[in-house]
């Protein structure tokens, strides 16, 4: 099938969503480096944060092939309203309970999205989806293991449950519809946000219930807007910090 302008716009939007989510959450999670609850977890969490930055780079490279600027320019010179990331990833790290629940919600979304993209007609995206399958599988295993562990005592179970309840509407914001859903589906580029949301809810609710938590209803209000560039007050300060070194000398050789 020949791609028209709308297909290309839809594909770019999809890639920006994925790459921006990974870049922002990768940066956020790296804020735990050196502050993690124990050394072993600090290393594991930091390493996964790095994985996310690496995954975002692979996606920005596809965008470059589609005519967008190079990855550094795209990552370091845009303002908040040019980012397609969802609200969930830009929230401050908070306490470790919130960061773990975000990790659980986000990474299951990421794993399922990549799984859907294994058969996309967009070949470079197909390759990225295959390449990072194992990496993302570990991320979801890590999140599952922690949430299961923290269901063990009343205090920890309550803290995780509170974080689940408080972050759920932001988690739903991951699936905000794109203006090109129809085009992406008809061209076999991507199965669509609604299908992904249904798969995600089935996966996370089954897991949370098995661990002993409850999950809010899928009808809860979604914290939308991020995909269209409407962000919370937390994104711009994050970008300012992330680009601080780059802005000193954008042409510097590393």
């Amino acid at each position: 099938m020949e791609f028209n302008d709308k297909h290309v716009m839809g594909l770019k939007d999809l890639l920006y969503r994925m790459a921006d989510d990974l870049l922002i959450l990768g940066h956020r999670n790296s804020e735990w480096t050196g502050l993690g609850p124990i050394l072993e977890e600090d290393i594991a969490f930091s390493s996964m944060a790095q994985d996310k930055i690496g995954q975002s780079l692979a996606l920005y490279e596809i965008l470059q092939e589609l005519g967008e600027s190079d990855p550094d320019t795209v990552a370091f010179t845009r303002n908040a309203e040019q980012f397609h990331s969802c609200h969930l990833v830009e929230m401050p790290i908070g306490e470790y309970d919130f960061s773990l629940v975000r990790h659980f919600f986000f990474d299951h979304q990421s794993a399922l999205r990549m799984e859907m993209l294994v058969d996309t007609v967009v070949e470079p995206l197909q390759m990225v989806a295959r390449k990072f399958k194992g990496e993302i599988k570990y991320h979801t295993m890590h999140a599952d293991t922690w949430l299961k562990q923290l269901a063990a005592t009343e205090e920890s179970r309550l803290r995780i449950q509170t974080a689940i309840n408080e972050s759920f509407s932001m988690a739903l914001g991951m699936f905000e519809s794109s203006d090109y859903e129809k085009e992406l589906i008809e061209a076999n580029i991507f199965g669509g946000e609604d299908e992904l949301k249904a798969k995600w809810y089935e996966t996370v609710s089954e897991k949370l219930m098995a661990f002993g938590y409850t999950i809010p209803s899928l009808d809860s209000e979604a914290s939308n807007g991020g995909r269209k560039g409407q962000h919370t007050e937390y994104l711009q300060p994050l970008l300012d910090e992330m680009t601080e070194v780059f802005s000193i000398d954008p042409a510097a050789d590393w």
Binding site: E31, G34, L35, A44, M48, P92, H142, T145, W146
Partner: protein, 126 residues
């Protein structure tokens, strides 16, 4: 007093410099698990170190990042350190006698010669 650091991440954590935060009761430490890594299917698992963890499942998650992040690995074992029975170093003399018992060493078998000869034959037959 609040800790004032050059590192913005430390400042964000809002740590009280006077509090006893960070002091642990001995019981607050997680137990340790020993980690064994297998580089290739069929080869032995080799002890590579240990991790602190609250459960064997989390020990496995930590072991993966701690020890197999770089380089090849196909399988990991973790086992509670307390489950391992070890000899005492003061009893190390129990191993001393083995050194003198050369008749126990397989040195006199000409195994490699036979293997080489077998491989030669295979090559010729191929």
């Amino acid at each position: 007093m609040k800790i004032d650091s050059l590192d913005p991440r430390i400042n964000r954590a809002n740590l009280d410099g006077d509090s006893k935060q960070g002091e642990l009761d001995p019981m607050d430490h997680f137990q340790t698990y020993e980690v064994f890594e297998q580089k290739k299917r069929g080869t032995h698992h080799i002890h590579v170190g240990s991790v602190h963890a609250p459960s064997s499942e989390l020990a496995m998650m930590f072991a993966k990042e701690q020890y197999s992040r770089r380089g090849q690995c196909v399988n990991l074992w973790v086992v509670k350190t307390s489950e391992i029975l070890a000899t005492q170093y003061e009893d190390a003399d129990i191993f001393e006698t083995t050194a003198s018992k050369h008749h126990r060493d397989p040195n006199s078998y000409k195994v490699m010669d036979r293997i080489k000869a077998f491989k030669e034959r295979q090559k010729q037959n191929a």
